[in-house]
Structures are given as C-alpha cells and as structure tokens.
Symmetry: C2
Subunit: 227 residues, 2 copies
DNA sequence: AATTAAATTTAGGTTCGTCTAAAAATTAAT
DNA sequence: ATTAATTTTTAGACGAACCTAAATTTAATT
C-alpha cells in the first residue's frame, strides 16, 4: 500500500503562479495573505483571486476560510519551493551560460519555471554545479525544498563600522539592478559602513577602495553578510 | 513609414502547435492539409481543428477555404520555422549539455519551443556553437528560416554497393531510436549496402566493421548521405 | 447519375481563467 | 456603538480551446 508523496504534477501555469505569489507574500506561505494583496501583485482582480483560491483549496494546496486570507498547506509549500527552485536555477543558467545580465533574467525565468521535467532540472542543477544562490543572492532550494540564507542583514540595519560582503538584493527590479551596475556595486564586494547620516538616514560606505554615499533606499535593499 | 516584418509574437501555445503541425503535414506548409489529418496528429477532434483554422486564417497565418484544406501563408511559414528552430536547438542543448539521450528530448523540447525570448534563442544558438542539425539529423533553420539537408536519401532507396554516412532518421519515435541504440547504429556511422534481399526487401549492410541484416522498415527510416 | 461513404463544418455545450457589478462581511472612524 | 469605508465574496458573463451530435459538402461506388 502506497501513500502519495508526490507533488502536484498537473498544475496549470496560472495555479503555479498563484502558489508562488502566496509563498512570497505570506512569509514563505506560513502567514495568511489578503486577497487584495495577491490581486495587486498579480495584476488581476480580487474576484479572480477568490475563484482561484477556492480551487487551490479543493486541491489541498492552500488553507482558506472566507474573509480570512490564504496560507499554503504543506503540499502547497513544497510545490512553491519546487517552482522557486526552477526559477532560480534557470536564472543562474541565463547569467552563467548565456551571458544575460542580472536585470534581464526575471522575465524569461518566469516562463522557464513552468517547464515540467524533473530530469531537466536535475541535469541543469548539475550543469551549473549545484549553485546555492541565484544571481540576486536569493537561495536556491534543493530537491527536497531545503534552503537557507547565511545570516545576512540589510545594510540599513547595521551599525557604523560594520564590515561584510554584499551577498544579495531585496529589490530585484531592473531599475535598482541597473543602478547598482552603474555605481559598480556587485555581489561579492566587501563593504564597510563608515558613517551614518542621521538627517536623511543615508550611509557613507567603503566599497572595495572607494568611498560612496548611498541613500537609505539603497541601503535598505542591499543584503550584507558580516565577516 | 514602416511595414511590419515581424512575426506574430503573441501567439498562444495552441496556435503555435497547429502551425507547426500544418508545416509538417503539408510539405513545409506548401501543400493543403486535410482537417482530419491535423486532428489525428494532434489527438484532437476535426471540429476543433476547423475552429482553430478559422482563427489562424483571420490572423493571416494560413490559407483556408471551407472543405479545401489548409496551407501556410508566408507569415505562417516563417512562424513555423521559428518554432522548429527553437525546438531543434533545445534538443541539441538537452543532448549536448544535459546528457539526455536522443529518444528523451522530444517531450521536453515540445514545452521549451514555446518560450518567448529572441535573445534566449540567439544566445543558446551561440552556446551550442551554431549547430546545423538536431540530434536526429534534422536541419535547424537559421534566424531567417533558411535551412537545407545535404542530399541525403533513405537507405531503402539506394542501390547495392552504395556507401555513405548515416546522417538522420525519418521516424524519431522512442521505439525506433532505442532499437538503433540497442543495435549500435548511430548518426555518423559509415554504412555500405552489401546485398538486397528481394524476398522481404531487407538489406545486408556493413556498418563500421560489422555485418548487419536490417528489415525494410529500418532501412526506410534511415537517411544516408553518399560519400 | 444516383446512392453511399467519408470528410468537413456548424450548432450548441463545457471548463478554465478571467472580468464587472452588486452584495456581504470585516475593519476603521466618528 | 453606529456609521462609513474597505475588503472580500457572489452572481453572471465572456473568450479561448476544446467537446458531441447533427448537418452539409465532397468523394467514391455502384
């Protein structure tokens, strides 16, 4: 007698996108997410979200009680992690093998993440040498859905004189990534906080050998790992 | 004043599959294809085909007159070649970079061929070193849709004592490809026709240093390029 | 040429994922 | 604690892509 431990294999693209969104909005699916929040992020209408959420609930992918928001079930969480794993592996592929820049990968990875083939993903993982992080510093879940960041923190939350390595971005919009490129701030760079400007909450930092002045908006979107 | 020379970028997966099928069935889209033939190959119903064909006709991708079959317009042909290019490049990727065997690639390539990104395909082409043929020996159209086989012929159509290289398969079903693997017949092998058995139209061939006896069904699915 | 058979199309229906507009529940503000 | 504002859900509709069953056209056979 077998129990089915497999994930849903026959999900539609749309269902997968909802699951992914609920995961991202609800602290990895653990917290209940509002219908409106989902609708806004997915650029759809709240009524559409309600419809879909009911369907996902039927399939035991989400927990749902009317007017109380949605969270992921265990099955839903695993499904989300599978999709995120695919998305991030494809991003690494695009940057490492096809010379895409880190601000170009998202769109294409959004398509590639829905390709269904376990073998494809395992082999891709091997080709890329089992990467642990995607081009934006976000961790790649392993086959079982396990992953963790090191103990990274936002630059904006660190005290003066902190020193560490830039390991990720919180905002991975094209605009922000291009800004970082222009200002020669990249993952792997060593950063020291020299001074905090109380007036506008901006920061003076040392990056490599340069001294830079960055706004709070920038500082609160850069992840640093203390060394 | 510009004329639009671009291909349809906003086609659905289903539309793309119909276009591809019409291309394959109708001698590269040039000859009219029957509704029933399309339905059978796509495992759908003739009435569904009629519906879709009308839609494609609206978009000027096919020529269609009721009861008279369908053929591709120039736009439709270019679209088909774009999809086939993608399909075959992905097949090469799967075999060359991810160690898939040639009988495993079709299914996955069927999904990957619908990914929309010109840059992705150009870069993939470069990564693979601009291959001219896919793993089954089928030619890969270039960016402009141009391609040709060399002057390959089916083994079954060659006279005794012909000598050449095995360059492709006509039937690329899993069953046939696995049969070839089992019998150690691969693309690139040198083949000489030793004798033709009139009784059952089978062939005695020399392949590498071995002597093999192959049925007509095998012979009429192997492409040979005379050297 | 008339009849039968086969292929194709029409008509009407279904599911999926979306929408708008209106109703209901929850939350915030007086 | 009412009322007002917001969020969420229901009800009903629509396009895409499919289906079945019936009608129509073309092709094949007598």
């Amino acid at each position: 007698m077998y129990f089915c431990i497999n994930l849903y294999k026959d999900m539609t693209r749309s269902e997968e996108n909802y699951i992914k969104t609920i995961f991202h909005l609800g602290n990895k699916g653990t917290e209940a997410v509002a219908t409106n929040a989902i609708a806004e992020l997915m650029e759809t209408k709240p009524s559409s979200v309600t419809d879909m959420v009911k369907k996902l609930s039927e399939k035991d992918l989400v927990n749902y009680k009317r007017y109380q928001g949605v969270s992921l079930t265990e099955l839903g969480t695993k499904t989300a992690l599978g999709i995120i794993r695919k998305h991030r592996l494809w991003e690494v592929f695009l940057v490492d093998k096809l010379d895409f820049s880190w601000d170009e990968v998202h769109e294409v990875a959004e398509q590639l993440e829905h390709i269904k083939s376990d073998k494809l993903i395992d082999k891709l993982d091997a080709l890329l040498n089992y990467p642990k992080f995607d081009p934006h510093g976000d961790p790649i879940p392993d086959k079982n859905g396990a992953f963790k960041h090191g103990d990274r923190k936002l630059l904006s939350e660190l005290p003066v004189e902190s020193k560490g390595i830039c390991v990720g971005v919180k905002d991975s919009s094209t605009a922000f990534l291009k800004f970082l490129d222009k200002n020669k701030i990249a993952l792997g760079d060593e950063i020291t906080i020299l001074e905090k400007e109380e007036f506008d909450s901006s920061f003076y930092i040392k990056i490599g050998n340069r001294r830079e002045h960055i706004s709070n908006q920038i500082a609160s979107n850069l992840y640093i790992k203390i060394s």
